[in-house]
């Protein structure tokens, strides 16, 4: 197991380097001079501009700039903004909001997705199964923008149950955005679990378990679920990684001061170091989550051995 983890960690290195380099190149090769933009209407003296350029290695070739930057990241230094504020500061301030949002979303995904998928599989072809299938088709087919504004409108404005913007009311503020971020994945989790559980329930060991006289709840809960959950775990893991794309939109609609909103602001303000810093962190997060998912397999399915 240790050897497997080490090997996987080594494989991550090229993935991380390539993904971060693309972002770096995209952000720093785009036209426009961030230093000149920094001065705004009042032009800065050449000397000041030159000092700043040296400080951020802007005169080096792109590849050298990138390696100098990554050398910093390796020791935990994500650089500073052009105003001199450490990017790590911004991350520490913004990340909890996004993590909280992602956490709420994953919980919703697991609770609703798993309950709906299990019920649909147990009552296969009955009303509840049809209901789960139709509603999952509907949720996937409607654009996320419509789901967001729809929830905001009905539960936020008409019923007044939840706040529609900001994080002023703690946990309550995260419920609507959590549902929005989780919506599509919840539907997919339900569908995926239903199909895999239906298949598992027809297998021999489930029949054996039933024949031994075990209670239905134990057959489904202990014997069938463990195997049926494997594809679901992979999906949820992979989905965590794509949440950033969703977080940019969700945080914009609900005005949450998270990392998605910060990335968007930084892109518009051409603050390359902030963009690259946050994205690098997210790529790292993505690889680590994937590794954890793979290790979780071994616990769910003892047949899987990593050597």
């Amino acid at each position: 197991m240790t050897r497997y983890i080490l090997r996987r960690l080594l494989q991550f290195i090229p993935v991380i380097l390539i993904a971060t380099f693309i972002i770096y190149a995209m952000v720093f090769a785009i036209p426009g001079d961030p230093i000149r933009a920094l001065g705004g209407d009042r032009p800065m003296s050449e000397a000041v501009q030159q000092t700043l350029r040296d400080q951020y290695n802007l005169d080096d070739p792109l590849l050298i700039q990138y390696f100098k930057y990554m050398a910093g990241v390796a020791v935990g230094d994500f650089g500073t903004t052009f105003q001199g504020r450490p990017v790590t500061d911004i991350i520490v301030q913004r990340l909890p909001v996004t993590l909280y949002l992602a956490f709420v979303a994953v919980i919703i995904q697991i609770i609703i997705g798993v309950i709906a998928g299990t019920l649909a599989a147990i009552f296969r072809d009955r009303f509840i199964d049809r209901l789960v299938q139709v509603s999952s088709v509907l949720v996937v087919a409607v654009p996320i923008l419509a789901i967001a504004f729809g929830l905001q409108f009905v539960f936020g404005l008409q019923l007044g149950w939840f706040p529609i913007a900001g994080i002023g009311s703690g946990f309550y503020s995260y419920i609507l955005p959590g549902f929005v971020l989780a919506s599509v994945s919840t539907a997919l989790v339900a569908r995926l679990l239903r199909n895999s559980l239906v298949e598992t329930l027809q297998s021999d060991y489930v029949r054996t378990a039933t024949a031994k006289g075990l209670k239905r709840s134990r057959v489904v809960g202990r014997h069938a679920m463990r195997n049926a959950m494997i594809p679901v775990v992979t999906f949820i893991g992979a989905d965590l990684a794509t949440m950033l794309g969703g977080a940019i939109l969700t945080e914009a609609i609900f005005n949450l001061p998270g990392i998605g909103q910060e990335v968007f602001r930084a892109i518009q303000a051409q603050e390359g170091t902030v963009v690259v810093g946050i994205v690098t962190l997210l790529v790292l997060f993505f690889v680590v989550v994937n590794l954890i998912v793979d290790i979780a397999y071994a616990f769910l399915d003892p047949r899987i051995r990593y050597e």
Partner: protein, 305 residues
């Protein structure tokens, strides 16, 4: 559908080796059409799409007012008999604005889907057919683009374009969309490239181009064509989201995304500004996605699970 099947039939006509393929081909498409006709989801989504596409092509059929006819004096009126959807901030008839929005959204959706599908078919076929270096180069480029979340990538690029119209937005979306469908095409090609009929054609002396055109393409197009309608839905939804964020289309374009982004400031006071474009964008994306699901199930039963 019928156009595709006609193209397929024409393609295999006139070739002696293609005769059996032609009959199999024709019955495949006929089968697909038969199962589609009896699918209620297909009928419903088809009806919505016909209305939306007519709306996009001939908005004049739905309204007599011009979208540019705005009077500040009647700004932000509630829906009434005169203005069915009320009026917006500029005092334009909102019903007209929403109707004219269909053209922009559907144009972006179809343009990007067309570009993506064409690029994917060409590159996917090359990668799957030649393998080795060609495959490695195409697939790695695809992987690199795939590694960047497309919302993020699109925002970075769109942000530096000052003047963003339908073409600019479509171009950027295409760049980030093609790797996904290219993989689909590549996989389909790889699954047929070693079939006996391909080897037979090669043994008979057919050139690479002939093999690709006559044997590979007809047998590997189903997955990507089945996916293309779903793709249109994804694109329309992405365009609306990017425009809403402020990096997509700009005024004077008339777009649902722009209407939503303006309406958000008035969500408490004038909710009708939000509700109407939202219903239209939701219906359109819904129809394309459902239609795509139905078509995919019909022409590519292997993908159904």
């Amino acid at each position: 559908m019928s156009e595709i099947s006609r193209a397929q039939t024409e393609q295999s006509e006139g070739s002696t080796t293609g005769r059996t393929t032609k009959e199999a081909e024709a019955s495949l498409w006929a089968d697909a059409w038969r199962s589609l006709r009896s699918n209620p989801w297909f009928i419903v989504s088809g009806a919505i799409l016909v209305v939306m596409i007519v709306m996009a092509l001939f908005p004049q059929l739905f309204t007599n007012t011009s979208p540019g006819e705005c009077l500040l004096g009647r700004s932000r009126q509630e829906p009434s008999a005169e203005h069915w959807f009320g009026t917006d901030v500029q005092g334009c008839d909102y019903y007209t604005r929403v109707i004219y929005g269909a053209r922009t959204s559907i144009a972006v959706g179809l343009l990007v889907a067309l570009g993506t599908v064409v690029i994917s078919i060409v590159l996917g076929t090359l990668a799957g057919f030649y393998g080795k270096v060609v495959d490695a180069v195409i697939s790695r480029i695809g992987d690199m683009i795939f590694a960047v979340p497309y919302v993020l990538g699109a925002i970075v690029f769109l942000n530096v374009i000052d003047d963003r119209g339908i073409l600019e937005v479509s171009f950027i979306l295409t760049i980030f969309m093609w790797p996904m469908t290219m993989r689909l095409m590549r996989g389909a090609v790889m699954s047929v490239v070693n079939n006996e009929y391909v080897m037979a054609a090669r043994a008979l002396g057919a050139g690479n181009l002939t093999i690709m055109r006559r044997h590979i393409l007809p047998n590997s197009l189903a997955p990507i064509l089945g996916y293309s309608a779903i793709l249109v839905g994804i694109i329309i939804s992405a365009e609306a989201a990017l425009t809403y964020l402020g990096v997509g289309l700009q005024l004077p374009s008339i777009s649902w995304g722009l209407q939503l982004s303006n309406a958000q400031n008035y969500i408490q006071t004038y909710p009708h500004l939000m509700v109407f474009p939202l219903i239209f964008v939701a219906l359109t994306v819904f129809a394309f996605t459902i239609m795509g699901d139905a078509i995919r199930d019909a022409i590519d039963p292997k993908a159904k699970k």
